[in-house]
């Protein structure tokens, strides 16, 4: 696992690549690919949120999809009630963060840790799954929006800010999604270079030491947990736009597992790794859906075991280490100079 302080430069480089992709993709890729990419991007935002809370905060949240799904539902309910998506997006982020804050208070101030925290978050996810599945019927509604039970509910598409008559088409939502992903990514990168972010990494490394330095680890954990829930909610908003619908399935065990897989494949302690892994595995699962020789569960299971056993750090950190090992002997002095500059810059 790498330290949290990697500086902003790689973050900005990847953000630039993302921006180029965002404007270039529509001229290279087919329409259906662009439309379908929205879903992948939404899931990448979800992976990013887990990369933040698990990879940097050290909090193993099995139920990150709970915040993702909650965001999607809150957006859908909000957009139906308000007749537009602008406020609904804010509501989604707020609802999800607020819920995370309450749940986080409950667990972090109760000093629930490790695997027990994982169980509680997973359980909360399963409660959503069970409860929302049974909300079919007219008596279950929020405002004028029916919750829809097992079948789920149609999510209104995004519209231009405060212009409820101009809905975006799926291929246009792609731009919004990509921009949101880039912004969330830069935000997370920036956050990890702030005092707050570094303390979070410190707590991940050694909670007692952070406490002995006078940091209340509970507050920091609560903070990063809440922020990551808000980011997951943004992913949820994009997701229900990409799919056009939100169903309780979003809360199921398979999706909870998949989120963990993205982060472990991409690498804990990096932000770009899980994003890249999401796109890679999304492509893979889509490709698997077009064939019927290999069972998909089989393939996913093998990937997960393979990574845990042989590439436990995940792809991104393994590549970084490999590059670093190859460069170190010859370019040690240059690297030291660069590190120094980087530190000066990020401490400012």
């Amino acid at each position: 696992m790498t330290g949290g302080n990697t500086g902003m430069r790689p973050v900005l480089i990847f953000a630039l690549i993302g921006t180029v992709f965002m404007f270039g993709a529509p001229y290279v890729l087919q329409l259906f690919t662009i439309i379908n990419l929205t879903t992948a991007i939404a899931l990448a935002v979800l992976a990013l949120s887990l990369a933040l809370v698990w990879g940097f905060g050290g909090i193993l949240c099995f139920g990150q999809v709970a915040f993702f799904g909650l965001g999607a539902y809150a957006y859908t309910m909000g957009a139906i009630n308000f007749g537009g998506s602008t406020w609904a997006i804010l509501v989604a982020i707020l609802v999800s963060s607020a819920f995370a804050a309450i749940l986080g208070y409950f667990v972090f101030f109760g000093r629930v840790s490790d695997v027990y925290l994982g169980v509680i978050t997973l359980t909360v996810t399963l409660i959503f799954f069970s409860l929302i599945r049974r909300t079919s019927g007219p008596e279950f509604k929020i405002g004028i929006a029916q919750i829809g039970g097992f079948n789920g509910v149609t999510s209104p598409p995004l519209n231009l800010p405060w212009d409820t008559s101009s809905f975006l088409f799926p291929e246009q939502v792609f731009y919004v999604a990509m921009a949101a992903l880039i912004l969330c990514y830069v935000f997370c990168g920036w956050l990890m270079n702030t005092h707050f972010g570094r303390v979070c990494v410190g707590i991940r490394e050694n909670e007692l030491r952070a406490e002995l330095l006078g940091y209340d680890s509970r507050l920091y954990k609560l903070g990063i947990f809440t922020i990551s829930a808000g980011i997951a909610a943004i992913g949820g908003v994009l997701f229900c736009n990409g799919v056009g619908r939100i169903t309780p399935d979003v809360f199921n065990l398979y999706n909870a597992a998949l989120t963990i897989i993205w982060v472990i494949v991409g690498g804990r302690g990096t932000l770009i790794g899980p994003i890249a892994a999401t796109f890679g595995l999304f492509y893979l699962t889509s490709a698997l859906g077009g064939q019927s020789t290999l069972n998909n569960n089989l393939v996913l299971g093998v990937i997960l075991i393979f990574f845990v056993l042989l590439v436990p750090k995940g792809v991104a950190p393994t590549i970084t280490d490999w590059v670093a090992r190859r460069r170190r002997p010859r370019k040690a002095s240059r690297r030291a100079r660069r590190t120094m500059r980087r530190d000066e810059g990020s401490n400012a």
């Binding site: 570094r198 410190g202 952070a210 330095l213 006078g214 401490n347």
Partner: protein
């Protein structure tokens, strides 16, 4: 309560402090007083209760009975971060450092707790200089030798500029030279702050100590200078006996 031998204000005090684990009384009715700018060593054989007592002071353990008072306020049952936030620097027995971060980052996290960004950087630079960590400042702490890790932890304590420092076996696992340097550092810290040092190494204690408290079976056996203790029959029996 022991009569004050000193005009300096009392900054740490415990009253009837006790810590029980099941049926075992690890610490039993300890009354303890520390004055401002004092340097006190706690000694005693294994299982005497000194480390448990230390953890009651740092908030790592909540005492079963009695009170801990730091400066003017009662801190019994405080969380470690609350104790540290009073301006208390703490080093635990096992080196507690951020293994995945560099030496720089470790010390920065301590300095930044108390200072704004710019001043924090200056404090980090000073601390690195003072502890002569310049050569390894970019290294991951997890890759350093045991003694170096101890020093990084001391660096974190120093960087917080505390007025009270609690150290649990600071010289454990250090080479002879490192131990001597640690002793010097402790004396230097003592010019600004009071210290409580739990230690095994008698030589080390002789290097730094003025007043020493001897623990035995969870209680304070005696409290005196190192010289007096080496001559005391009871102390020799329980602890020094065959070693001094």
């Amino acid at each position: 309560m022991k009569p004050a031998r000193d005009k300096r204000p009392v900054i740490v005090e415990t009253q009837n402090l006790a810590m029980h684990f099941g049926g075992v009384r690890a610490v039993d009715q300890v009354d303890f007083t520390l004055f401002d700018k004092e340097l006190r060593c706690l000694i005693g054989p294994n299982g005497a209760g000194k480390s448990t007592f230390f953890k009651c002071l740092t908030g790592q353990l909540v005492p079963s009975a009695g009170k801990v008072i730091i400066r003017d306020g009662e801190t019994t049952g405080f969380e470690p971060h609350e104790i540290a936030s009073l301006g208390v620097g703490i080093k635990t027995q096992v080196p507690n450092v951020f293994d995945g971060l560099t030496v720089d980052e470790n010390i920065w996290l301590s300095a930044r707790r108390w200072h704004a960004a710019k001043r924090a950087r200056a404090v980090v630079a000073e601390t690195i200089e003072r502890l002569q960590l310049g050569d390894i400042r970019r290294e991951m702490v997890g890759r350093l030798a045991h003694g170096q890790r101890q020093w990084v932890e001391l660096g974190m304590v120093v960087a917080a500029e505390p007025w009270l420092v609690l150290l649990d076996e600071p010289a454990a696992g250090m080479t002879h030279d490192e131990t001597a340097r640690t002793a010097d550092l402790i004396k230097e810290i003592n010019t600004q702050a009071a210290l409580i040092v739990v230690e095994h190494d008698m030589q080390f204690i002789r290097m730094i100590s003025k007043q020493v408290t001897v623990f035995h079976e969870g209680r304070v056996l005696m409290e005196d200078t190192m010289d007096a203790i080496s001559k005391d029959k009871r102390a020799r029996e329980v602890y020094l006996g065959n070693r001094a």
